[in-house]
């Protein structure tokens, strides 16, 4: 069975391991803090590749930032990682083929192949963490749009500029439903500027949680009417605190399209790496 070295590059951590064609993790998971400079990130990646490339057939990378349709590099800026990071030449890291995909897209693909959306041609995965990531699968293919950047969960919750989003625009779904957004909602509702998402979740602050969940619901209804998917998958560190059963019932009451399922992710914490590896192995097979 073919194997892929897989690397997950985020703003704070870099992980790597090896997976097989079944999406099974077959090596130790190594962790590194993401270095501050571009040169340091590059040399961390070079070291990981040098150590493992002879044991695998292909390299799959899940990264923060939008990835082009050729799966070779990053489009534009990517937030909290070294500013030159988008200029990275990933293929130059190895003589083995290197396949790059956005981390949320890669995780959505893992759910599609081995997780909560397995068997469904049309799915959307939402990852609720510090931000909100989105991965869209249409007719069993990852949907990337004209440039590779599709699936950005920056549609607006209000038309009249209330809350500035991290993207520079206003009132995006992300800035109401991410961890960052939940903290802002909690601050507004409690009047306490030091409140954390931990306080809200652990303290079972029902009013705040309900408001947050209603914001999530608002977005899910729109996505369901636009995409008519089989299933929406809820993922990320905050995703598990959403009530999938409640959301499924409420969404299906409101939509004009056909009923859909809302499910929690089930491909595990390393779904980004697993998805990137599965995509890399599949691309290798398709290219002979």
């Amino acid at each position: 069975m073919k194997k892929a070295l897989v690397i997950d590059i985020g703003g704070t951590k870099i992980y790597n391991t090896i997976i097989n064609e079944n999406g099974e993790i077959i090596a130790e998971i190594e962790k590194h803090s993401t270095p501050k400079t571009f040169a340091q990130i590059k040399s961390t990646l070079e070291e990981i590749v040098r150590k493992h490339e002879n044991d695998v057939d292909v390299i799959g990378i899940a990264t923060c930032g939008a990835v082009n349709n050729e799966n070779t590099g990053i489009l534009g800026s990517t937030g909290n990682i070294a500013a030159e990071y988008p200029t990275m030449d990933f293929q130059a890291l190895s003589n083995k083929k290197v396949f790059v995909e956005n981390d949320a897209n890669a995780a959505a693909w893992a759910e599609h192949v081995i997780g909560a959306s397995k068997g469904f041609p049309y799915s959307i995965m939402l990852t609720f963490g510090t931000g909100v990531g989105g991965g869209i699968i249409l007719n069993n293919k990852l949907y990337k749009g004209k440039s590779g950047a599709a699936g950005e969960m920056h549609f607006k919750m209000y038309p009249d500029k209330r809350r500035k989003c991290t993207c520079g625009s206003w009132d995006c779904f992300e800035i109401y439903t991410s961890g960052t957004g939940l903290k802002i909602t909690a601050e507004e509702m409690s009047g306490n500027p030091d409140i954390t998402t931990y306080d809200v979740i652990e303290g079972k602050m029902t009013d705040i949680i309900n408001r947050w969940q209603n914001d999530v619901l608002t977005g899910l209804i729109g996505l369901a009417n636009l995409f008519d998917p089989d299933v929406i998958v809820l993922s990320g560190s905050l995703g598990e605190f959403l009530d999938a059963e409640y959301l499924e019932r409420e969404v299906n009451k409101e939509i004009v399209t056909q009923p859909l399922k809302i499910r929690h992710a089930s491909a595990g914490n390393y779904s980004g790496m697993i998805g990137a590896g599965l995509l890399a192995l599949e691309a290798m097979k398709n290219n002979g």
Copy 2:
């Protein structure tokens, strides 16, 4: 060159004509008022088909309501047309192959083949009339979702129940940006319950038009970030009063995906019929 009898079935009017493979109208355009009862609608369609079916190779129907992925019939309810209309067996109308598509999808396809989005693989068409219709083309194919109902422009403008939508839910894009929505906005802003969209447009009521256009802009930003399309096409009786140049500039300032074009439709008033005919002719060719 092959020819298609094309019929556009709306809540108030039924049109028919004949088109060729270039999307050219090559017969008189006939108009009928949409009858009240299902039996009368059926016999109007039977009469149209009987009169023209021997002159064509295939029949293309553009209809109100969501159409299934087999392009044979209608899903669920369809608003202001006889309640039994969704049970219509379109293929029973003729021995020639009958191909059915939603009117907004069909019009989007006409724009893609001969109109404003020609040459672009990824486009979204929005039709601003009494309601708002949507047609989505991804990678040169009409996008219909799991059941055929995708592209419903019922994503929310507010999360907190301000304006009831005709779909039964609240605060959808449609109920702010359609003719119905513009009238409600005008009533709210002017305090005059008798104000019409005609008064607003002809009277150049800038404050109301700007509010409406900002609501449209709000939706376009979300669609651009979700779908990363090449172009969004503005159509329908109200679409021409939107400033495409302004909207393109503003959308491109706000999105996190790559720049897109905003254009007015150019396939003409009968783009629904033309698109249905082009789709029917193409389906016939693909099925041998």
